[in-house]
C-alpha cells in the first residue's frame, strides 16, 4: 500500500513510449552473433586474419589504424601471425623516416623519406594529415578505425550494418545529397563513404568464402580486436575473479553467521 504512489509513477513511465522515429534516424541495427560477445567470447582466429586482409586491401586506402602497433599482430589474443609473418607485414609498409645525414626529410622529388616498418611501428596512415584526407575524400574525413567499435553506439553491429547497408532504395521524398550515398544505418542517411565491399573483392589465402557478408564479418571481427586487443584476457581473468569472489563471499558469509550466532 505504501508503495502505491511510487509504483504507479514507475508503471506510468514504463508504459509510456518514446515519440515516433523521425527522418534521418538510424534504422535498427542488424544483429550478428559475434564469437567475441558474451562472457566467454573469444576472437575467431581465421576471421581476424581474413579481417586484417580486408582492412589492408580495401579499407586502408582511406582509413588509418594509428593506434595499432605491428608487434601486436603476433601477440596472444590477436590474429596469431607468427613473429616472422608479423615482421614481414611490418617491413611491407613504408613508415616515415627521420632526417637523413644531410638533414633532408624529403627526397629530390619532394616525397617524404621512408623506411620499412619494424615491429615497434604503428600502421602508417594513408594520408599525411587531416587536410589531405579531406581533400582526397570530398571534404569528409574517414575516421581512424583503431577504436571505431568502442566509439559508436552498437559497436560491431553498427559497423557491420553500415558496411553491408548500402544499395537500398531511399524512401520516397528523401533526397540523397550530391556526392553522398544512402545508408539508413548512418545518422542522417547521407554517408560520405561509397559502398566499400563487393562479393569476392578480397581473395582469402585459405580459399574461405568471400561474399560481402563474409568480408564484413571478418573485418568487423578484426576491428573489434583493434578496439579491444585484451578482450580475451579480460574474459579469462573475469571468470577466475568471479569464481574467486563467489567463493570468498561464501566464506565471508559463513564467518559472519558464525560470529553472529551467539548474538541473539
Amino acid at each position: 500500500m505504501r508503495f502505491a504512489l511510487p509504483l504507479g509513477l514507475l508503471l506510468g513511465l514504463a508504459l509510456s513510449v518514446p515519440a515516433a522515429a523521425a527522418v534521418g534516424d538510424r534504422a535498427p541495427l542488424k544483429h550478428v552473433d559475434w564469437s567475441f560477445e558474451g562472457p566467454f567470447g573469444t576472437f575467431d582466429r581465421a576471421d581476424l586474419q581474413h579481417g586484417f586482409q580486408v582492412y589492408k586491401e580495401v579499407c586502408s586506402a582511406c582509413h588509418s589504424l594509428n593506434r595499432v602497433a605491428f608487434h601486436t599482430l603476433s601477440e596472444e589474443g590477436g590474429p596469431g601471425f607468427s613473429e616472422a609473418q608479423m615482421k614481414a607485414i611490418a617491413a611491407g609498409y613504408k613508415v616515415l623516416a627521420g632526417p637523413n645525414d644531410k638533414g633532408d626529410t624529403v627526397d629530390d622529388k619532394g616525397n617524404p623519406l621512408t623506411r620499412p616498418g619494424i615491429p615497434a611501428d604503428h600502421f602508417p596512415p594513408p594520408f599525411p594529415n587531416e587536410e589531405a584526407a579531406r581533400a582526397a575524400n570530398g571534404g569528409a574525413l574517414p575516421p581512424d578505425l583503431s577504436i571505431i567499435e568502442k566509439a559508436r553506439v552498437g559497436g560491431p553491429d553498427y559497423v557491420y550494418s553500415i558496411i553491408t547497408g548500402f544499395g537500398q532504395k531511399p524512401p520516397a521524398g528523401f533526397k540523397v545529397t550530391d556526392g553522398k550515398y544512402y545508408n539508413p544505418y548512418f545518422l542522417g542517411w547521407n554517408i560520405s563513404m561509397p559502398q566499400p565491399l563487393t562479393d569476392n573483392q578480397v581473395t582469402f589465402v585459405d580459399g574461405a568464402p568471400a561474399k560481402i557478408e563474409d568480408e564484413a564479418k571478418a573485418v568487423v571481427t578484426f576491428l573489434a580486436w583493434t578496439s579491444e586487443p585484451h578482450l580475451e584476457d579480460r574474459h579469462r581473468m573475469g571468470l577466475g575473479v568471479m569464481v574467486f569472489l563467489i567463493v570468498l563471499s561464501g566464506l565471508l558469509y559463513l564467518s559472519y553467521r558464525r560470529v553472529w550466532k551467539d548474538a541473539h
Binding site: R2, F3, A4, L5, P6, L9, L10, G12, L13, L15, S16, V17, P18, A19, P39, R67, A69, T72, P143, S146, I147, K150, A151, R152, V153, G155, L187, E228, P229, H230, D233, R234, H235, M237, G238, V241, M242, L245, I246, L248, S249, L252, Y253, S255, Y256, V259, W260, A263, H264
Partner: protein, 423 residues
C-alpha cells in the same frame, strides 16, 4: 558512543608505544571495541563499502598516473597506451573508470539510507553536513577525472559546465565576473591544455582531501555513535555489540557482494556505463550530437536543462546540492526513522522515483518527449515537475509532514526490539 578505553597493552613494546603515541589504543577503541547498535541492517554496510571504493580509486589512480600524460596532444594517446601496452593497464583503467560509478552508486544508497532513517537529525547534524561536503568533493573530483582522457565527451562536458560560470555576468553588470571566473578556470579563452593540466593536478589532490574529511566524518559519527533502523538511542550495553568481530565480518561480507557486482561491470560490461563518444579524441570544432554527463550526474543535469534561463538554471542546480546541508533543520519530526513515519515514508519513496525520473530525463536529448496515454509530453516538462518535487520534498514536505503526521509508537529499546522480551 565514546566511553572509557578498555585497551590494555600486553607486551613491553606495546606499553612503550602506548605511552608515546597511543595509536594502537586508538585503533582498538574505534575499530575493535567500538559499541555499535546490534540491529544495523544491510543498508548500514555502505560506509565500509565506500571506504573500500575510496581505497580502490586512490590506489588505481596512483598507478594510472604513472602512465597518464596531462597534455592535450598526448592525453588520449597515453590512455590508449595504458589500455594496449601497459601490463594490466586495461584492467587498472577499467577498475578506475567503473570504480567511480560504483563509488557513486554506493554513496547514493548511503545518502538515501541516511534520509530514510533520520540519521541527519540531532545530534548528528555535523556528521550529515560533512557527508554533504564529501559528496560535493566527489562530484568535483569525478567531473575533473572525466575530462582527463580528453575524449569528445570529456572536452564538451568540461566546456558546458565551466561555461555555466559565465552566467554570473548577468548579475555583475560591466564587471563581467562570470567571464573572468570562466577564463580563470580555463587558463585561456576556452577549455584547453592549461585546463587539462590543472584538472589533473586537482583530480590527484582532492581524493586525499576527501580522505581527510572522511576521517572527520567518522570522528563525528563516533561522538554520538551510529544511528540504527529504529531511530531510537542506544540506552546501554545490551543495545550494542563491539564493532569487531560483529560488524567487521558483516561489512566484509557485503563488501564481497559489492565486489562481485563491481567485477561483473569491469570484466563483462566495462563500457556499459560510459559513453561511446568518449572514445573519439576531443575536437573543439565538432560538437557531439548529444552532450551527456556520466549517469551519476544526470538528475542534476536534468534540473539544469529544465530551466531555460541560464543563471536560474545554475542557481537551481547549485541549490539542489546546497539544500542537502539544511536538512537537519528542515525536518521537524521528533521521530527519526521512517519505519515509524507512515506518511513521510510514502513521500520518501516518491522522492526516490523522482530522482530516477530526473536521471532518465537527463539522459535523453533536450527535445525528446514521451507518449503518456496518448498525449505527447516533452521531457523538459517532466524534468520541471521532477525538480519541483525535489525542492518541495525538502523545503515543504519535511517541515510540514513532521508537524502533521502521527508517528507509529516507538519500541522501548533496541535490545527489546531485537531480542524479544527479556527471559
Amino acid at each position: 558512543m565514546s566511553g572509557q578505553s578498555t585497551y590494555v597493552p600486553q607486551t613491553g613494546f606495546t606499553r612503550w608505544l602506548d605511552s608515546r603515541l597511543p595509536i594502537v589504543r586508538f585503533a582498538h577503541d574505534t575499530m575493535l571495541t567500538f559499541p555499535t547498535p546490534r540491529n544495523l541492517n544491510f543498508w548500514y554496510a555502505f560506509g565500509a563499502i565506500l571506504t573500500f571504493c575510496l581505497g580502490v580509486q586512490i590506489v588505481t589512480g596512483i598507478v594510472l598516473a604513472m602512465h597518464y600524460v596531462p597534455n592535450e596532444n598526448m592525453a588520449f594517446d597515453s590512455v590508449e597506451n595504458i589500455m594496449r601496452d601497459v601490463n594490466y593497464g586495461w584492467l587498472l583503467r577499467y577498475v578506475h573508470a567503473n570504480g567511480a560509478s560504483m563509488f557513486f552508486l554506493a554513496v547514493y544508497v548511503h545518502m538515501f539510507r541516511g534520509l530514510y532513517y533520520g540519521s541527519y537529525k540531532a545530534p548528528r547534524e555535523i556528521l550529515w553536513i560533512l557527508g554533504v561536503l564529501i559528496y560535493l568533493l566527489m562530484v568535483i573530483t569525478a567531473f575533473m577525472g572525466y575530462v582527463l582522457p580528453w575524449g569528445q565527451m570529456s572536452f564538451w562536458a568540461a566546456t558546458v559546465i565551466t561555461n555555466l560560470f559565465s552566467s554570473l555576468d548577468q548579475i555583475s553588470g560591466g564587471l563581467k565576473v562570470g567571464t573572468h571566473v570562466a577564463t580563470w578556470l580555463w587558463g585561456g579563452f576556452a577549455v584547453g591544455d592549461p585546463t587539462l593540466n590543472r584538472f589533473f593536478s586537482l583530480h590527484y589532490l582532492l581524493p586525499f582531501v576527501i580522505a581527510a574529511v572522511v576521517g572527520l566524518h567518522i570522528w563525528a559519527l563516533h561522538v554520538p555513535g551510529n544511528n540504527n533502523p529504529l531511530g531510537i538511542d542506544v540506552k546501554g550495553p545490551q543495545d550494542s555489540l563491539p564493532f569487531h568481530p560483529y560488524y567487521t565480518t558483516k561489512d566484509a561480507f557485503y563488501v564481497g557482494l559489492f565486489a562481485i557486482l563491481f567485477a561483473v561491470l569491469v570484466f563483462y560490461a566495462p563500457e556499459f556505463v560510459g559513453n561511446p563518444d568518449n572514445n573519439i579524441p576531443a575536437n573543439p570544432l565538432v560538437t557531439p550530437a548529444d552532450i551527456v554527463p556520466e549517469w551519476y550526474l544526470l538528475p542534476f543535469y536534468a534540473m539544469l536543462r529544465s530551466i531555460p534561463q541560464k543563471l536560474i538554471g545554475v542557481i537551481v542546480l547549485g541549490g539542489a546540492i546546497l539544500t542537502l546541508a539544511f536538512i537537519p533543520w528542515l525536518d521537524t519530526s521528533r521521530v527519526r526513522s521512517n519505519r515509524f513515519r507512515p506518511l513521510m515514508k510514502q513521500f520518501f519513496w516518491v522522492f526516490v522515483v523522482d530522482c530516477l525520473v530526473l536521471g532518465y530525463c537527463g539522459s535523453q536529448s533536450v527535445d525528446a518527449s514521451l507518449h503518456l496515454g496518448g498525449i505527447e509530453v516533452s521531457l523538459v516538462w517532466i524534468a520541471r515537475i521532477g525538480t519541483a518535487y525535489y525542492y518541495a520534498f525538502f523545503w515543504v514536505l519535511m517541515p510540514v509532514i513532521g508537524l502533521i503526521e502521527t508517528p507509529k509508537p516507538l519500541p522501548d529499546s533496541i535490545a527489546k526490539s531485537v531480542l524479544g522480551p527479556a527471559e
